[in-house]
């Protein structure tokens, strides 16, 4: 494997080549340098004879080893373990004989490849099981021919075809040579397993790569090495989309250990594509990173240099005093207008009680712990080979094709395990930078690594936003009108920036009369994009906090108030014909109340409180109760979070499902401490000391419960995150009487006596 650039990387060779070191990607990564820890179980099985392809995902060795290809990018969501579980279940594979291999970016072979949107479970629940079932069917047919019995007399046990009448058993490995020659069956004709017979789905299957991770094996993007590669740092303008006018390249090139330095020019207009910058190359990364400190660049900063958070806040305050620039719709078939807005405002004004409040949340950065990086080789023969920790390789390949000037089919992209994603690596700026630098450096392989400071400064940020709510409550304490003037960030096209939106159908729209949402835009020049549970992670906090305020103003129990709202649909969409099923949501709200002891919260001492929130996103139904403790000086911590989620009939891999929920809850609480601000068009925060990540001492106890329902399974990477922010905010109110209307939470605002 050491001469990686010349090895034959065909599938068959690949499996044999990796025999010594378990699963190693694409023949070009560093060989393992360690023996495994003695206390750990042996690694995955290694086929002693070449595997035979059954289809694009399943290959079986005559020795019984089953190789399953993992098609999607792995970012920590556990998909590399979970999708092969679906295949293995319907194949009726012996899991101990399964070895999982990461597929390359190859949509012709694997279909769409993305880590995002919590899509993978709903998208693959049927097709990946069909893949396994089809291979099993071919094995059954091969066994039937060999035994001269009808297929209907055959069944399977893990990795065996069984003929019960004669007690004959044939291992899959003995059948694969014959089975692989058969015509694959029509997937639609396949009868899938009865769920009660599942042997793999529904069992705790530990993260496939954990044994390698705990031994420190080089399996992340940043660990890739390619023979002859140079290390690169890429310095961009601190103001988004700024251009290089000049740079002291000769001075940089003279630094010992620096092998090259040059200006790279912007290609295209995507702020998360290839932007102007200076590339510095050398023999190790630390040297090129240090060399950047001596770099002097004259930048043309452009128009965004006039933008700052202080100015955004002023503009938002001014806009909030005027009517919205537009209205969010259509809703119920008809787009709201100035007249419907006026009517809803009128309903608020005439209500027995008015509740008004403004909620503000900041921009956020993704900051996965592995800084952005990519290794690329734009070769002299016009092909490009890329090793990328990416969530969306296809988009990156498109950027590279344009920037390097090659056809997409000349680009090979190996998807390398990502040290966290959270949506950051749906953008592929690091990929196009590495490829462009490789080409411009003279077609040499280049490993680009960003600093943490560069990662903070150049991110597709979660957009900040301002929600100005007005609600009316009738004499019986029911919410009868709601308006929200949402102030967000827009681009030159007059539309909100990416993910800078608030849904027109946001709850409680459809559950109370007189609901109209308006919108106004502040010009923003920064890149924005999806952060885990995009839009939801922000909007949920604002709405579910304000609903809590209305409940308190109405003199109602905030949990019962939500159940009453969920039971009050005023449109067919809200009543169960739309995306959200109100009954499923009411169930998880009710159950989280029971599990958390919500009814007994009155006995809590001052300074301790419980809050509730729910949210529907990514097809998942989640309700959470948070319990917080606030010291008199305002120092606060979350003691415990109870989570109840409904993601359908089956929790495919329960240990990973719980892990995702636990992580989402910690992530959401972490966000309540974080902000990104801008000054003169640049990001102010630089590293984890001013953009803190929640630590173990502030991580709460977490009760994870899944309420299964008779619906197809849906994804878990995101939907558990949004409700934790308002649940905690509402708990802080219960503990102190102080309503948090601005994030991050300011400790000073929580002081109490």
């Amino acid at each position: 494997m050491a001469d990686g650039m010349t090895v034959n990387t065909s599938r068959r060779f690949f499996l044999l080549a990796s025999a010594a070191g378990g699963l190693v990607l694409a023949g070009c990564m560093t060989p393992d340098t360690t023996e495994g820890g003695a206390a750990l179980a042996a690694g995955p099985p290694v086929p002693k004879q070449p595997v035979v392809d059954m289809n694009n995902f399943v290959a079986i060795s005559p020795d019984g080893t089953i190789r399953i290809m993992a098609k999607n990018p792995e970012i920590g969501q556990g998909i590399k373990t979970m999708l092969p579980m679906l295949i293995a279940e319907e194949l009726d594979a012996d899991w101990s004989k399964v070895t999982i291999e990461q597929g390359d970016a190859d949509q012709k072979r694997y279909g769409s490849q993305i880590a995002g949107g919590s899509f993978a479970t709903p998208q693959h629940w049927v097709p990946q099981r069909q893949v396994g079932r089809a291979a099993r069917e071919m094995l059954l047919q091969a066994a039937a021919a060999r035994l001269a019995v009808p297929v209907s007399e055959l069944t399977t046990e893990p990795s065996m075809v069984v003929h019960a009448a004669t007690s004959k058993k044939i291992p899959y490995g003995d059948l694969v040579a014959d089975a692989a020659k058969l015509t694959p069956p029509d997937p639609a004709s396949l009868k899938m397993k009865d769920p009660k017979d599942y042997r793999i789905i529904g069992k705790d299957m530990r993260n496939w790569d954990t044994p390698r991770i705990v031994r420190g094996e080089p399996i992340f993007g940043i660990d890739v090495t390619v023979p002859g590669m140079k290390y690169a740092n890429y310095v961009k303008c601190p103001v988004f989309a700024g251009k290089v006018v000049s740079a002291n390249l000769d001075e940089i090139k003279a630094i010992p250990g620096v092998t090259d330095a040059f200006v790279v020019r912007q290609v295209g207009t995507n702020l998360m594509g290839l932007m102007d910058g200076v590339a510095i190359l050398g023999d190790d990364w630390w040297t090129v990173k240090e060399a950047a400190k001596k770099l002097k660049v004259q930048w043309d900063e452009g128009a965004t240099a006039s933008q700052s958070t202080a100015s955004f806040d002023q503009q938002a305050a001014t806009l909030a005093k005027a009517k919205p620039q537009g209205y969010l719709g259509p809703r119920g078939g008809a787009a709201p207008t100035e007249a419907t807005w006026a009517a809803a405002e009128d309903a608020v004004n005439k209500a027995a009680k008015k509740v008004e409040a403004s909620y503000t949340y900041p921009f956020l950065v993704h900051a996965p712990l592995e800084p952005q990086n990519c290794t690329a080789h734009a070769k002299a023969d016009g092909t490009v080979e890329i090793w990328a920790p990416t969530q969306l390789p296809g988009q990156g390949i498109g950027l590279v094709a344009e920037a390097v000037g090659v056809a997409q089919d000349k680009i090979t992209c190996h998807m390398i395990r990502c040290g966290g994603g959270f949506g950051r690596r749906l953008s592929n700026d690091f990929m196009v930078e590495a490829a462009a630098i490789s080409k411009q450096a003279g077609n040499i392989p280049v490993k680009l690594v960003w600093t943490r400071e560069q990662d903070m400064a150049h991110d597709p940020y979660r957009p900040g936003g301002y929600h100005n709510f007005r609600a009316g409550v009738d004499a019986q304490g029911a919410m009868v009108a709601l308006t929200n003037h949402f102030i967000t960030f827009g681009g030159a096209n007059g539309q909100p920036l990416g993910n800078a939106t608030s849904p027109p159908t946001e709850f409680p729209s459809g559950f109370i009369p007189n609901t109209v949402y308006g919108q106004s835009l502040i010009p923003g020049g920064m890149p924005t994009g999806p952060l885990r549970a995009p839009v939801s992670n922000a909007v949920c906090w604002a709405y579910q906090s304000f609903i809590d305020e209305v409940a308190i103003a109405a003199g109602k129990d905030p949990l019962q108030f939500r159940l009453d709202l969920l039971n009050s649909a005023v449109t067919a969409t809200a009543g169960g014909k739309g995306p959200m099923n109100a009954q499923r949501m009411a169930d998880v709200v009710r159950i989280v109340g029971e599990r958390s002891g919500w009814a007994n919260r009155g006995s809590l001492p001052k300074g301790t409180g419980m809050g509730v929130a729910f949210y529907f996103s990514h097809q998942g139904y989640f309700a959470q109760v948070a319990k917080v403790k606030v010291e008199q000086n305002g120092a606060w911590r979350v003691l415990k979070v109870w989570n109840v989620g409904d993601v359908g009939s089956t929790i495919i891999n329960p240990t990973n499902a719980r892990n995702q929920v636990e992580g989402s809850i910690v992530d959401g609480i972490s966000e309540m401490h974080q902000k990104i601000t801008f000054d003169k068009g640049r990001t102010v925060q630089t590293n984890f000391y001013d953009m803190p990540l929640l630590r173990i001492d502030y991580a709460p106890q977490i009760d994870v419960h899944f309420h299964t329902s008779n619906n197809a399974p849906t994804g878990l990477g995101e939907p558990a995150l949004p409700p934790v922010l308002p649940a905690v905010s509402n708990a802080l109110f219960a503990a102190t009487g102080k309503r948090i209307r601005t994030l991050p939470v300011a400790q000073a605002e929580l002081r109490w006596t």
Binding site: G37, L40, N207, R215, K627, S664, L693, I702
Partner: protein, 160 residues
């Protein structure tokens, strides 16, 4: 540039680098031990945690010139120790990992904790581990895995 001879996981390596080059980059780029991770470069995240003579150190802020004769232990070598093995096994058994990027540092910090305190309490865990960030938020399981490795009761005894 100068020659520095360091002992990593029981093996001697001599590297010709600048004296202020951090141990992290010597390990990763000069002697090709990629298990120690780069997260922040300013000792704020703990991803680069190694042991120097058995004590926790952040390799990203440890100049190679300061290492001298101290024994460097990295994630690649920690499995050769009894505690390190137990911690690695607990990490697998508890299924701690999500993305896994911080976990080498977490395991190094946890091993040092148990070596110095064989029966850590929740408070001990908080103190020893708060320098190691997990962006995926696997703290519930890190806490459980440390207790599993130490053989103490797994109940979370913190105030609820």
């Amino acid at each position: 540039m100068a020659n520095y001879t360091i002992n990593v996981n029981g093996k001697t390596h001599t590297v010709d680098v600048a004296g202020d080059m951090p141990l992290l980059w010597v390990l990763r780029d000069k002697i090709n031990l990629k298990g120690t991770k780069f997260g922040c470069g300013v000792a704020s995240c703990g991803a680069c945690t190694v042991h120097l003579d058995g004590k926790v150190a952040r390799a990203c802020m440890t100049p190679i010139s300061s290492v001298g004769g101290q024994r460097v232990t990295t994630i690649e070598g920690i499995g050769d120790t009894k505690t390190g093995q137990a911690v690695q096994k607990a990490w697998v058994d508890v299924d701690v990992v999500q993305c896994g990027y911080c976990q080498a540092g977490q395991i190094m910090a946890a091993t040092a904790l148990i070596n110095s305190n064989s029966r850590p309490t929740d408070k001990d865990i908080d103190t020893a581990m708060q320098g190691n960030a997990c962006r995926c938020g696997t703290y519930v399981r890190i806490r459980e895995a440390i207790k599993t490795a130490a053989g103490v009761a797994k109940t979370d005894t913190r105030e609820v």
